[in-house]
């Protein structure tokens, strides 16, 4: 009987030792490291960090997670946070986080200023890769004129033929934010109502599901990011989806106006970053031709720096389209709440 107790005590003891040793391992200080909080989940990013470590000897530690939850953790940890860099997809999120004063200056180092277009960087954060939010159509049923725009999708003649994902999606919020910036809130509200009238179905699924809906004939028009089609074409989603993707054509809207809506994945250096120098090194590394090539080949985004070619699956859509460089991406963050309100009021 006493044996049981002794065993119990031993097990508890063991557990405590175990717990503390893991604690020590988890908190052991690597002199040369950089800590990344990432709302981008790509495995290819992790491979890139490994390359960086191999090159510089700086260890990269990663926590990935949901965007807002990570931000909350960084905020609450405050000056004790070990996070150096926060990486996320969408400029709206970077801008909003910057507005909360969570970044420090320095992301756009002198070297980076030379290569990254001014629209895609600020003193607080820098774009790592670009994506366009474009229109997809079914070439068998419709044929867009060369100057078709996002605005045109609300035209009543497309009633019941348009699919796009939910308003809760950040890409939609940024797109609508850019429309508000360019057309004003009132016009955009009317546009949103028109869009909702044209919906072929209740918004459901992710961007890829919208493209597939066009392929399956559920709709003629879809709005989705560029890399989703490339992902399907690459065969990573299987032969059926590869075939389906070929039934859909990408279209770059607003070519006679401000250009196609562009967004970025980007990162910034956090206010309390303990390894600022290493953080800058990592950001600079991510914008080297070698790293950029790796990114575009894995995520099918557009390169951020000149001299790097987009993956051929993306390049075949054409690279010479007019990008919207006029609308500052920082507006996406500022107008996010308004964009959400406009969409919700329209019943999106």
């Amino acid at each position: 009987m006493e044996k049981t107790m002794n065993k119990l005590i031993r097990v508890i003891g063991l557990a405590i030792v175990g717990l503390f040793s893991t604690l020590l391992v988890a908190n052991s200080v690597f002199a040369n490291e950089v800590n990344v909080f990432s709302a981008r989940h790509y495995d290819s990013d992790v491979q890139l960090y490994e390359k960086f470590t191999a090159k510089t000897g700086i260890k990269v530690n990663v926590v990935s997670g949901k965007d807002k939850a990570l931000q909350k953790r960084i905020k609450e940890e405050g000056k004790d946070s070990k996070a150096d860099i926060y990486i996320t997809a969408d400029a709206g999120r970077l801008g909003a986080f910057q507005a909360e004063g969570m970044f420090q200056k320095g992301a756009s180092s002198a070297a980076l200023k030379k290569v990254v277009p001014a629209n895609f960087r600020s003193p607080y954060w820098v774009g790592i890769a670009k994506r366009a939010r474009i229109i997809y159509y079914n070439p068998k049923t419709v044929n867009p004129s060369w100057n078709m725009s996002y605005e045109d999708l609300a035209d009543p003649k497309y009633k019941g033929r348009v699919v796009i994902r939910k308003s809760s999606n950040i890409y939609n919020q940024s797109l609508v934010a850019s429309l508000i910036k360019n057309n004003g809130e009132k016009n955009t509200a009317a546009w949103a109502k028109g869009m909702v009238n044209n919906f072929a179905r209740k918004p459901t699924g992710n961007d890829r599901a919208q493209i597939l809906a066009v392929a399956a004939g559920e709709a003629d028009w879809a709005v989705a990011n560029t890399y989703y089609l490339a992902l399907m074409l690459s065969g990573k989603k299987g032969a059926e989806q590869q075939a389906a993707a070929k039934k859909v054509m990408p279209f770059f809207p607003n070519q006679d106006g401000r250009g196609t809506h562009m967004n970025i994945s980007g990162g910034g250096i956090l206010k309390h970053a303990p390894n600022k120098a290493n953080a800058i090194k990592l950001l600079e590394f991510l914008l080297t031709p070698e790293a950029q090539q790796h990114i575009v080949n894995n995520t099918f985004e557009y390169p951020m720096i000149p001299g790097v070619k987009a993956n051929k699956l993306i390049a075949q859509f054409g690279l010479d389209f007019k990008q919207d460089l006029k609308t500052k991406v920082s507006n996406y963050g500022k107008l996010q709440a308004k964009a959400l309100k406009v969409m919700n009021e329209a019943g999106w």
């Binding site: 009987m1 006493e2 049981t4 107790m5 119990l8 097990v11 508890i12 557990a15 717990l19 893991t22 604690l23 988890a26 908190n27 989940h41 495995d43 530690n61 926590v63 990935s64 997670g65 949901k66 807002k68 939850a69 990570l70 931000q71 909350k72 953790r73 609450e76 940890e77 405050g78 000056k79 004790d80 946070s81 070990k82 994902r165 939910k166 809760s168 209740k202 459901t204 699924g205 992710n206 890829r208 599901a209 392929a215 399956a216 004939g217 559920e218 989703y228 992902l231 990573k236 989603k237 299987g238 059926e240 989806q241 075939a243 389906a244 709440a337 959400l340 309100k341 919700n344 009021e345």
Partner: protein, 538 residues
């Protein structure tokens, strides 16, 4: 009364208090800031959020009721082909978390999805997308959650049927009732407390679900709280919404408690003999077999097949995974958490038992509501509390910050799991304890056993089955747990759940298949390990 305060009582007081802290935090931290999210919410979607939550709850409760009670009824009272297999096979549904079910559902039914591939394979090229049923996220959420949770209703209802003192069907016949009448007049009412307990567990899990509704982009109360708090920093709104949610849950708690009290009267005291089962014949037997087969297929075979199919079809993703470290991480969390949970629930229960203090008993009842708090909210509350507490101590006593000890560490994860699952383990141990008559303790004291010795020689061995059961239940929950792990984990720390999530988040469900499959396999192993206790007929 000072003489009464001893080690055990202090324990019984402190543990629930610690567990209750994050729950208090959710409310207390809400009284300073105000935001504009509520206006937005009021005008547009508050009603929708509420109705979504309500619809999902209603749908899930109906489905789990139908699935769980019907299958339990067949399996407990009748003999039909496959009954012995279905008896345990149906509990395998516990192994599939709702979010993984959702992945499978979407992958199968989407345009050019797995269903399309199968049809193409069978009938050649064709335009099958039209014929493949599409359903929106609301229905998808309902089905995903129902299939992964109906096991609660099944297990509890079945236990209640099996432990009836007589074969109720025979009693019914004796009284001249048709089998239809005896089902509705005798069998169903007799199992009501068990069904209510099962359904309230389902309801709590449904209300606190985040992974599934998030995947389907359905806005519910839980996502609204998350958005209000995290995206908009609008604590007032988050608070108000949390109150609505907690009100829901409190209601369920009361219901559950009431029916638990009722359940005592349905317990057969001594000498349970397994009731003889009635052999089904003809169409009835075919129906029973079909019903159970379909249920088993939908709840377990389908998601497992979908994941297996992908794992085989896309072997490339297989290599990207550090299989060893995922296993180790998952098991480390399971081991540490169940160990601490069991030890502490034991001590709290024991303290409760020896102290008989009302306050402590209320406190432990309150602390178990951690289970009802959605994991994602709890994780954020945990971060908020630790940060506040650390800053507070630094400002008063000049202590070094200890945030990093608790946030982004295994310690923090274990503590957060502790808060989340304390209810599970506390009540699990408690249900075992309630079977030990108080005079047993007194007897032990009178035979010269100290409290500690009574605990170790009488209680521990008597409750060893309970411990095993509780341990495995905790293990299952932790293997499947996602939001807490995601936010609180250390650098470079992945579990099967986070790995699957991160692939799903980059729209690579194909790559999520392998970690999902591993997760299901681990969970199934644990389930099979305890199935004989869950399904015991003695």
């Amino acid at each position: 009364m000072i003489k009464r305060i001893n080690f055990w009582v202090i324990f019984a007081f402190l543990v629930p208090l610690l567990v209750a802290i994050p729950i208090f935090t959710v409310f207390l931290s809400f009284f300073d800031t105000t935001g504009n999210y509520l206006d937005l919410l009021k005008d547009t979607f508050l009603l929708k959020y509420l109705s979504n939550s309500f619809l999902i709850l209603l749908g899930v409760l109906s489905l789990t009721f139908i699935f769980g009670v019907t299958s339990a009824y067949f399996v407990s009272f009748y003999k039909f082909p496959g009954v012995n297999f279905f008896k345990w096979a149906l509990i395998l549904s516990f192994a599939v978390p709702a979010y993984i079910y959702a992945y499978s559902l979407v992958a199968f039914f989407e345009n050019y999805g797995t269903a399309f591939s199968i049809l193409t394979f069978l009938f050649g090229e064709g335009d099958y997308n039209k014929y493949i049923p599409k359903f929106d996220g609301l229905i998808g959420s309902m089905f995903s959650i129902s299939f992964s949770l109906f096991g609660y209703v099944y297990v509890l209802t079945r236990a209640s049927f099996v432990f009836q003192s007589h074969n109720l069907i025979e009693v019914g016949k004796n009284l001249g009732l048709s089998s239809y009448e005896s089902f509705f007049k005798i069998i169903l009412p007799s199992a009501r407390p068990a069904i209510v307990v099962g359904l309230s567990l389902v309801a709590m899990e449904t209300l606190s679900d985040f992974g599934t509704v998030d995947f389907f982009s359905i806005s519910t109360l839980t996502t609204a709280i998350y958005n209000a708090w995290i995206s908009f920093d609008d604590l007032t709104t988050a608070n108000q919404l949390s109150f609505v949610l907690l009100f829901f849950i409190l209601l369920l708690f009361v219901l559950e408690n009431l029916s638990r009290k009722g359940a005592k009267y349905h317990q057969n005291s001594k000498g349970n003999k397994p009731i003889p089962k009635i052999q089904l014949a003809g169409s009835k037997s075919i129906f029973a077999t079909c019903f159970c087969s379909i249920l088993f297929f939908c709840s377990f075979v389908f998601p497992v097949s979908q994941m297996t199919y992908w794992t085989i079809k896309f072997p490339k993703y297989f290599q990207d995974i550090n299989f060893w470290s995922l296993n180790m991480n998952t098991l480390l969390l399971v081991f540490l958490s169940s160990l601490f949970l069991i030890i502490f629930s034991f001590m709290t229960n024991y303290g409760n038992r020896v102290s008989k203090n009302k306050l402590i008993s209320y406190l432990s009842t309150f602390s178990v509501s951690g289970y009802a708090l959605p994991g994602i909210i709890l994780a954020v509350a945990f971060i908020t509390f630790i940060s506040w507490f650390s800053d507070f101590l630094s400002s008063i006593f000049g202590l070094n910050s200890f945030k990093n000890v608790f946030i982004g560490s295994v310690v923090g994860l274990v503590i957060a799991y502790f808060v989340r699952f304390f209810s599970l383990s506390y009540n699990g141990i408690k249900s075992g304890y309630s079977k030990i008559n108080n005079s047993i303790d007194e007897n032990a004291y009178l035979l010269g056993y100290s409290k500690l010795k009574t605990f170790s020689t009488i209680h521990l061995p008597y409750l060893k089955t309970n411990i095993l059961l509780v341990g495995v239940l905790i293990a299952l929950e932790i293997i499947k747990e996602l939001p807490i792990t995601l936010i609180l984990r250390p650098f470079n720390f992945e579990t099967f759940a986070t790995k699957a999530y991160s692939y799903a988040a980059q729209d690579l469900l194909e790559a999520a298949a392998f970690p999902s499959l591993c997760l299901i396999i681990w969970a199934s192993i644990f389930i099979l390990f305890i199935s004989k206790y869950i399904l015991s007929e003695k």
